[in-house]
């Protein structure tokens, strides 16, 4: 059973461009667009226990588990103050995710303390990265102790990206845990679902799959998600902000722009309007993020959201190095183009100027001395439209 069906008009070919991929949202009705920016401009509003404006919670069925989860869940990984989790649970968010390995167990401890008596009202998942049965079961017992609960609803094998990384005794550990009543459902988290989906479908070992998914991903991932969802596997989406405030990876240099213009909400709404996704686990560190994310359950993905996200893709195209390797060795001056662009991203994308300068100075000296202006024509032609010489020049201006 597919847990969530797209609205009529949302269906689209998987072979579309990224821009077209986003533009599917234009076919959806506009809802709340007039008030969108008014709401975004009041981040310092009073913070009562419950929001003054009514929050519409949207629940979806998590595949064949039958669990009714709020479409916006809560990724607890970097939450440092338990009050945010408490408030989310009071409001009605009912899916919370953590992992044994987060902060050497402190995250589970904090989540357990924050949920307290509310634990019985929520769906709780954790993960173990252990690679054998004994280690997994030991981790589970520790997780239950730290989370102050007798069971977790979903227990994931943590970050498995190839079938070879999943051994039979790991699946056996999940089965044992289920028989013992320590878990309700078995899951797997992955960043490479296209590699795993055929194996997952064949193995029928998992009730839930937790996968990376956002508006910048390759359409192949859509196919993989559809494949597992057709078998009744529940699909939970993570990394939905595509380089939100915490995913500071150089291949996701969207953070400052997205945070400033409220595009985080658009990114979340984009995921929620796509088919086959039951719930999401955005990271949240404060009440403002929580309030903003809650809106994704009551506001439709609109043409305005589509424009915001498309603008981000367009805006980053001239600077967004995809590390495809096409430029390797292309600079006749011997400059390491991709490395230089990556380093520049540290400064421009993440505000880590000192780190960027340090890295730049580790490059061969020619990166500081060979100026693009000395060449009559740039021999590096980025197939994705990155303005290479302009970016290299900026790196030299900043760091050389």
């Amino acid at each position: 059973m597919i847990p969530f069906f797209p609205k009529e008009g949302c269906a689209m070919s998987f072979k579309t461009s990224r821009r077209e991929f986003l533009s599917a949202g234009i076919m959806l009705p506009v809802a709340g667009a007039a008030s969108k920016f008014d709401l975004l401009q009041s981040p310092d509003k009073p913070d009562p226990k419950l929001p003054k404006s009514p929050i519409k919670l949207e629940h979806r069925t998590l595949g064949n588990t039958g669990l009714k989860v709020t479409s916006v869940g809560f990724g607890c990984m970097i939450t440092s103050d338990p009050s945010v989790i408490e408030r989310a649970a009071d409001i009605g968010i009912n899916y919370f995710d953590t992992a044994r390995g987060y902060q050497h167990g402190n995250n589970e401890r904090m989540v357990g303390a924050a949920l307290g008596a509310k634990r019985k009202n929520v769906i709780l998942s954790t993960k173990s990265a252990a690679d054998n049965k004994a280690g997994l079961l030991q981790d589970l017992d520790t997780s239950l102790s730290e989370l102050k609960t007798d069971y977790v609803d979903i227990w994931y094998l943590h970050s498995k990206d190839t079938p070879a990384a999943i051994h039979d005794d790991m699946i056996e550990a999940q089965q044992i845990a289920r028989q013992q009543g320590k878990i309700r459902f078995a899951g797997m988290s992955t960043h490479a679902l296209p590699k795993l989906s055929p194996w997952t479908v064949d193995k029928k070992a998992f009730d839930v799959v937790l996968t990376i998914y956002n508006f910048t991903v390759d359409p192949k991932l859509e196919e993989a998600i559809a494949t597992v969802a057709k078998t009744g596997t529940g699909v939970v989406a993570m990394k939905i902000m595509a380089g939100g405030p915490h995913a500071r990876r150089p291949d996701q240099p969207l953070n400052p722009i997205m945070e400033r213009e409220g595009a985080m909400l658009s990114a979340l709404k984009w995921v929620l309007h796509r088919p086959n996704i039951s719930t999401t686990i955005p990271s949240m560190t404060d009440m403002d993020q929580l309030d903003e994310n809650l809106r994704a359950m009551s506001e439709k993905f609109s043409p305005i959201d589509d424009k915001i996200l498309a603008a981000h893709l367009d805006r980053i195209a001239p600077v967004y190095c995809r590390f495809c390797g096409e430029c390797d060795g292309a600079c006749k001056k011997g400059l390491q183009v991709a490395d230089t662009l990556r380093i520049l991203t540290y400064a421009d994308g993440y505000g880590q100027f000192a780190l960027a300068r340090e890295r730049f100075n580790e490059l061969p000296l020619r990166h500081a001395t060979s100026r693009c202006a000395a060449c009559t024509e740039c021999t590096v032609k980025c197939p994705h439209g990155v303005r290479v010489s302009e970016r290299i020049t900026r790196a030299q201006e900043l760091f050389a």
Partner: protein, 279 residues
């Protein structure tokens, strides 16, 4: 002149080489390297730490170098992370240590458990962890032996961030750096939180008195029903959802206070004790 340049270059190379030599399994007799050394940066730490990588990135992670050492059936994984500055390194340590366990004196602080040793020194955060899946072995001797060799090779501060010393120590359970959104409030961008058997205290140091005053204005707008207080340069107390009894004051560019106490007056009383400890 050439000789001088050669000497300088040699010195720099020597320093660089020393910096890279804090990972060696032969530091402790009986241990051998297993596999090759590893190195991670913000762009690929995810490959090693999975989702936990985010926990490093929020503490200004710059790079990690690591090695696996094997002795018989036991494998110790040693990872040294450059967290850009000492405050972030200590913050990373405090976020990862078990607050119910004591802090040992290695570098700025350490935690020794039967299968793991964490410590921070200067801008470095060091993790030495048994990784073979054994659940009951005690490796404290080996962990301490490796730490004793590695710690002197890492340059930098051996004292925790000064702000932590401002917190009263009586009944303190833990103290840590919160890299963003102190108390779950975005306007308190980065600061320190100390938990007590009752309630918690916080300290946020702004760039200037003016910017701190602006933050105070935003805080006042956020809480309903607050009562102004004569404490520091400005202060208020309030009973608030999730934070219970709250008192917030400003002293120059420092915003601090107490929360999660039974009532606001109690928070104010504790805040007054904190105020006098802030220089």
């Amino acid at each position: 002149m050439k000789l001088f340049c050669w000497l300088v270059a040699s010195l720099l190379l020597s320093i660089a080489a020393q910096a890279q030599n804090y990972l060696d399994c032969h530091f402790v007799p009986g241990w051998e390297q297993s596999g090759s050394k590893r190195q991670y940066t913000p762009d690929n730490l995810f490959d090693y730490r999975d989702g936990a990588a985010e926990g490093y990135l929020v503490f200004s992670f710059a790079r990690m170098q690591g090695i696996d050492c094997k002795s018989g059936a036991i494998t110790l994984s040693i990872d040294v992370s450059d967290m850009t500055d000492a405050d972030s390194a200590y913050g990373m340590f405090a976020a990862n240590r078990d607050p119910s366990q004591p802090i040992a004196k290695i570098g700025m602080g350490a935690q020794l458990l039967p299968q793991s040793l964490l410590f921070a020194k200067g801008k470095y955060f060091v993790e030495i962890v048994e990784t073979d899946g054994s659940t009951n072995s005690n490796q404290t001797a080996a962990l301490q032996a490796f730490a004793a060799k590695i710690e002197p090779l890492l340059e930098g501060r051996t004292t925790p961030p000064e702000e932590l010393s401002w917190f009263p120590t009586e009944n303190q359970v833990s103290a840590r750096l919160v890299p963003e959104s102190v108390l779950g409030l975005k306007i308190l961008k980065r600061g320190y939180v100390a938990k007590y058997t009752q309630g918690q205290a916080f300290i946020v140091v702004e760039q200037s008195s003016e910017s701190a005053a602006e933050v105070m204005n935003k805080l006042r707008a956020r809480f309903e029903g607050l009562t102004p207080l004569l404490l520091g340069d400005e202060a208020f107390q309030v009973k608030a959802p999730y934070l219970d009894g709250v008192c917030v004051f400003r002293k120059g560019k420092v915003i601090a206070g107490y929360t999660n106490l039974s009532d606001a007056a109690e928070a104010a009383a504790q805040a007054a004790k904190l105020l006098v400890r802030i220089p």
